[in-house]
Amino acid sequence: MRPRRLSAPVLLLLPAFIVLAAVVLVPLLLSLYSSFTPFRLTRPATFFTFIWFDNYISIFASRDFWWAFGRTVLLLTVALNLEMLLGLGLAMLVEKASRGQRLLRTLMMFPMMFSPILVGFQFKFMFNDNVGVVNNALQSLGLSNSAIPWLIDGGLAFFAISAAEIWSSTSVFAILILAGLLAMPKEPIEAARVDGCTPWQTFRYVTWPFVMPFAYIAMTIRSLDVARAYDIVKIMTDGGPAGRTELLWTLISRTAYGDARMGLANAMAYVSIILSIVFTVYFFRKLAAARVQIGAEW
């Protein structure tokens, strides 16, 4: 029997598969395996001891892990929701602007160009208790007498990190939602106004359903790269003070490279991977649903 010729799409997608298999899938299988071993970098022999779910049991029993997990989910929930709201607000402000829209749109993209590590550095500098511009401003304006320890107090540090995260990603939402607003036909809005809708009703029942898929595109793009918060936290506080801003990802890196406990870290990494996948699949399905709705209506 002659081997069937590979069809065109398979052939075209083959290089992508090969690279992704080599760099992502196979290594992930390896890390799945090693999450069932007590593997330590310093003792290579431990790679071959199989201990079943002991690593998972010990991370699920660990309070530090659950704190980091909860903090990560909290940060993501707060950040994504605020980014969406602020992005929507920003997009509407820019859309309403009568002059200089091009310039405004360009300025709006500004934070997108900053790598997370730069965002982290920038906010670390601004929130520095001694030389930071935030404290300097508060003191110069007479709003505060003493230096506020932004990155030294646990709660404040969490706030500072959220601020950095939101600053860096709001523009993704704003840009895509703005694209939606600009692509929207004007007739339905006028029709709604003629029919006597209040501005809120117009927004809720006419504008929002049209713009929603664009918001979901932004959400999906964001959820692909949700772990970028690692870079921000790494440079701003490195999980400190005393683990008060530890996220899942900084905990993984500390366990793996600080304590050299690879097996345990891989178990945690799997939890983080599943978390990311859940986020992405959720928004992908929302996006697909919104797309169907749009397809039906427009």
Binding site: A8, P9, L12, L13, P15, A16, V19, L20, V23, V24, P27, L28, L30, S31, S34, G89, L90, L93, L104, T106, F110, M113, F114, S115, I117, L118, F121, Q122, K124, F125, V133, Q139, S140, W167, I175, L176, A179, G180, A183, F214, I217, L224, V226, A227, Y230, D231, K234, I235, W249, I252, S253, M262, S272, I273, S276, F279, L287, R291, I294, G295
Partner: protein
């Protein structure tokens, strides 16, 4: 009646002012951090550290940049080497990722096959894996293969990182090119291959260029993988270099700000070039699905 008119006009004006103020405030928040970094890199350290703060710069100079690029001098960060590494790694991985992504994106845009949407989601999911989680097995594998701290290792990782998103974008751009054009070319005697290069590729060209810039920026900015897979001047990239500043020295704010500005300039220029295409590529792929 007059009164009603007056209040309505007043209300409208008030709304307009609120709108302007809101817009101004938003733009200040967006732009201020970057401007502040830029300004700090130009000021002498005495002014940066001054208590009470000096708001209006008294003295502006380029000392920080001169020190940074004059080799391993004060600060001791080999910025030139890091810059070179970043450039080599980002450019190479972008070229490869675009070549592979173009093939994949074309397959998604032009062919119908079984399990297409599932496959697309699967591709995206490989991108979702957090860098730090992926770095654990890669670190292990790379150490075994002896490609830790090499350009090759990082390039390979970044190609894989960029493929899914590149496919998404390029898929969107090829969809915008009408199918009929290539078909017409084929009827006129082109092969499918010729039709692609002479008709579809030039039309999707700007979009592909902006996907390339996007891939470049992803590699240029990546930190989580680079921080574990690089060790020395051989392959360390700029983001890892920036962290060096915080780790090894009493923080030299001015030097770090200068390095930050050096990092941001290529990103800034490139993003401005692609901004229009980027949005249209993302949305067309997703909405018209």
């Amino acid at each position: 009646m007059m009164d009603d008119n007056a209040t309505a006009r007043f209300k409208r004006r008030l709304l307009k002012i609120a709108h302007q103020v809101g817009l101004l405030l938003a733009m200040v928040i967006i732009c201020l951090p970057g401007i502040w970094i830029m300004l700090t890199s130009l000021r002498p350290p005495v002014e940066i550290m001054a208590k009470p703060p000096v708001w209006i710069p008294q003295e502006i100079n380029l000392d920080a940049y001169v020190a940074m690029f004059s080799g391993v001098g004060k600060g001791g960060i080999p910025v030139l080497e890091y810059f070179r590494n970043s450039l080599i790694i980002s450019v190479t991985s972008t070229v490869i990722a675009i070549a592979i992504g173009m093939a994949g994106g074309y397959a998604f845009a032009r062919f119908r096959f079984r399990g297409k949407s599932g496959l697309f989601l699967g591709l995206m999911l490989t991108r979702t894996v957090p860098g730090i989680a992926l770095s654990l097995p890669l670190f292990f594998v790379y150490a075994r293969l002896g490609i830790i701290d090499t350009h090759f290792g990082l390039i390979l990782a970044y190609v894989a990182l960029n493929i899914p998103f590149t496919i998404w974008l390029i898929d969107g751009f090829f969809r915008q090119v009408p199918k009929d054009l290539a078909e017409a070319a084929q009827i006129d005697g082109c092969t499918r291959w010729q039709a692609f290069w002479q008709v579809e590729f030039p039309l999707a060209g700007p979009g592909i260029a902006s996907s390339a810039i996007f891939a470049f920026l992803t590699s240029w900015n990546e930190f989580a993988l680079a921080s574990q897979l690089t060790r020395s001047v051989n392959s360390k990239t700029l983001p890892v270099g920036l962290l060096d500043y915080t780790a090894e020295f009493t923080i030299d704010w001015r030097g770090m700000c200068a390095l930050a500005v050096v990092m941001i300039i290529p990103a800034l220029t490139l993003t401005f070039i692609v901004q229009k295409h980027l949005v249209s590529g993302l949305t067309s792929g997703a909405v018209k699905g």
